[in-house]
Subunit: 275 residues, 4 copies
Amino acid sequence: MVILIQCKDKVGLVASIAGVMAQKNINIVSMREHVDIAANRFFARLVSDHHIDSGDLMHELQRALPADAFISVNPEPEKKIVVLVTKEYHCLSDILVRNHFKTLGATVQCVIGNHPTLKNICDRFELPFYEISHEKKSKEDFESGLLKVINKYLPDYLVLAKFMRILSPEFVKRFPMHIINIHHSFLPAFAGANPYKQAYKRGVKLIGATAHFVTNDLDEGPIIEQQIIHVNHTFTASDMIKAGKEIETAVLARALKLVFEDRVFVYNNKTVVFE
Amino acid sequence: MVILIQCKDKVGLVASIAGVMAQKNINIVSMREHVDIAANRFFARLVSDHHIDSGDLMHELQRALPADAFISVNPEPEKKIVVLVTKEYHCLSDILVRNHFKTLGATVQCVIGNHPTLKNICDRFELPFYEISHEKKSKEDFESGLLKVINKYLPDYLVLAKFMRILSPEFVKRFPMHIINIHHSFLPAFAGANPYKQAYKRGVKLIGATAHFVTNDLDEGPIIEQQIIHVNHTFTASDMIKAGKEIETAVLARALKLVFEDRVFVYNNKTVVFE
Amino acid sequence: MVILIQCKDKVGLVASIAGVMAQKNINIVSMREHVDIAANRFFARLVSDHHIDSGDLMHELQRALPADAFISVNPEPEKKIVVLVTKEYHCLSDILVRNHFKTLGATVQCVIGNHPTLKNICDRFELPFYEISHEKKSKEDFESGLLKVINKYLPDYLVLAKFMRILSPEFVKRFPMHIINIHHSFLPAFAGANPYKQAYKRGVKLIGATAHFVTNDLDEGPIIEQQIIHVNHTFTASDMIKAGKEIETAVLARALKLVFEDRVFVYNNKTVVFE
Amino acid sequence: MVILIQCKDKVGLVASIAGVMAQKNINIVSMREHVDIAANRFFARLVSDHHIDSGDLMHELQRALPADAFISVNPEPEKKIVVLVTKEYHCLSDILVRNHFKTLGATVQCVIGNHPTLKNICDRFELPFYEISHEKKSKEDFESGLLKVINKYLPDYLVLAKFMRILSPEFVKRFPMHIINIHHSFLPAFAGANPYKQAYKRGVKLIGATAHFVTNDLDEGPIIEQQIIHVNHTFTASDMIKAGKEIETAVLARALKLVFEDRVFVYNNKTVVFE
């Protein structure tokens, strides 16, 4: 059982939380706590091996903690997700394989592509694939098409696994901090289009990838995970893209694991990640 | 102010600890907690920005916690160390520079060498250097010479910064978990002598270094930190030694920082490191 | 077009090779050369963007180089492989996905499992899966069963993608330096069984994986690639296994890429890898 | 003996070079060659264990190669450098220690500081320290002060080891591709001032450092080496600065080693680095 708490910091928060747990005789197997002193913000993630009624525990925690506290007791352990893609297979395939072998920590409900390219791989894993083209229609119409599918499934998260369309603020605000994107660069370097071409031209010795929550500001949402790999002068722009795909796959997989295990808190456009 | 606690695990430990802190109105800025379920062992490290009487807090914690609990309130923030060396300069120099600029997190009291090679660099930093040769004498006599110097300083830790003599069990047991060694390999690979030669012959693609506490079993003490660097077919055994020195310096520096900041707990020949 | 040369070192080898290339007006796009001075051995890998008759070029190179030279002109660019597995899916799935999207650099001809577990995933990619159980039969009979399948396909390489049986020297010598294994540890640490359990017990801070060619000495063949990931005290033995799978997948993928692109030379139980 | 060649690419360059070497009976111990196909540019670095008259070899190579070729035979193996600093000690100390123990691959002739802070550490290593303040004078006057000192020493390279002044284009063009700077960020992210504050605010999970040649465009010169380290939500801006110093020291040390061993070529504002 996982318990998540975020609130304004004050003396005695840990005691209040732990007091509730002790009173209910719940053993705390792991507790991570963080205070952002500058922001005066408190974060905690507790894991227990007991399984009690979460409504009751929630009630007790609400009584013990400040009124503004965000508390989540026993969040859905098996998240449901909808994956949005365009043409590139590497991130999607990794997700489909983990989903198939039940090691994703979430269940893929369906995949939506604005191109038909990746229907075949979804078929092989018997997962519904919806082709919703963005062509010859307004962004509003395109997104209304997406929403029609998404609303059928009510997913916990949308995962943009190399989805190459920019979503409107109206769309994004329907899923606040519940859309996860993989960006093909070490943000904030090379934000925007063609990062590998930029990287090649600049002669960098590292390339990276960034998984982040999507907000209205393109590529500016809270960063969940970043990793890099070394490149050198023998890499053409195309080699950098290939190397980039490997790191993109790894970073998105890692970010999803962290989010699905309820290890990520968001505030002030940043994340607290209890790894 | 740092508080360290280690004891057998049971329900309510966090509540007891946090209760004491809250009652004394001490704000917890950072709390790290770990339970080794298999070993039924509880570890906690708390940081507060308050500075109260530590004897009093200690007393309250002792009352609130099991009798077997190891509790440390406000351990000496500026450790005192004696460094033992032989001929290689890289780890010692790094320590001397950080000591000089007061960023080591500890104070070097003196350096002992079983060769005179490194006297010069100690002189430059105006640090006492004692040459105690191991030649033409028994290990007992050699170690009694070491002890005579060490006992003058009563250091918190002994740091073996490429000290190439094996210490006797009798010596080691005088400083249990207070001797830190840097081992020139990714333990447990290549334990013992000439690890780089072994690594070269085996054609490895990585070499590493390990910082660990010294116990009676050579190279078998609790591991504090390990890192590696990539090597390839162009590395001769001598190139591997050079690359190894870089990683040895980095790993020892990192391990010392962790130990000096009281982030390392030892049990069952392993460590819990709250980074 | 790729050209590979390995021979005893002597003055003028590069001139001889380059002379042949220049005389035939073949532009060298990339040339990597290595001399192991201790072993007096010369290695070269040339890439050209010309495509000429390889028999003719081979003949000229043989005339220009010492009689003992191993020369390979234009090795099969698309390797054929047979993959051997037991029950774990992670390495196989990665290979199947890359094979499906034609980015493996090789073609998977079939998969052989000594358990039926992974038949399903092979079916999904329409790849032949042969179940050859090792149970209730001698190693000789088991391997003769493997050979019957392998001989149908005449693959360039056998890939042991978490194949948990030890192959006999008789089997191995049929495919010298053409069997690639992924070992679940940073060899030579924790060679043999249960490396993660050993790693957990030892309290290591890194775990690794090693891809190597299979020789008669278990886990002692030439190393192609090694990588590590950091672990800490929160990892149970089971968490280490999970983290290990990620690194195993990455290391095997990288090693296969290097081998399939003809970047790996073997000698003295070591490799030269022109990355 | 090292030989460096850079010129427009054409068929037969390697043969011409190797022919000259063979004719003079010079054994090539290591040869690295690279062609940038897009830029039609050829680079080679040869190492021989012979020591012959370099003027003669130079003459032969000039005859054999295109007129535009840049050829360097036996560049000064022990570079001379002048180090420019402000107040931060970490990069300078690392250089001074390596210089002292003769493992820098170069000789530090003197150190120039625009603050007196680092005089003390230079004194300890008996190295001339010149304080040249930038205060209350024009940039022209400041730089003319620098030049007066530099011209006394005629160094091969200027190393900016956390020198916090921006040099004028007039100054830079006197030392084209012979000024090496360490930049406190993973360029091109966070170019300019206060990168760690920017990184902290953005909530990045990695911070890096970049060593590059100095050109007229601030922070836009050819990149020699880049590395990163992982950070997380527990890092304050000040912790990021501390972590950054570690990586800055490591990256500058690595870049200097590469440059001093004549492994770095520059063209099109990028580098070819034969590691």
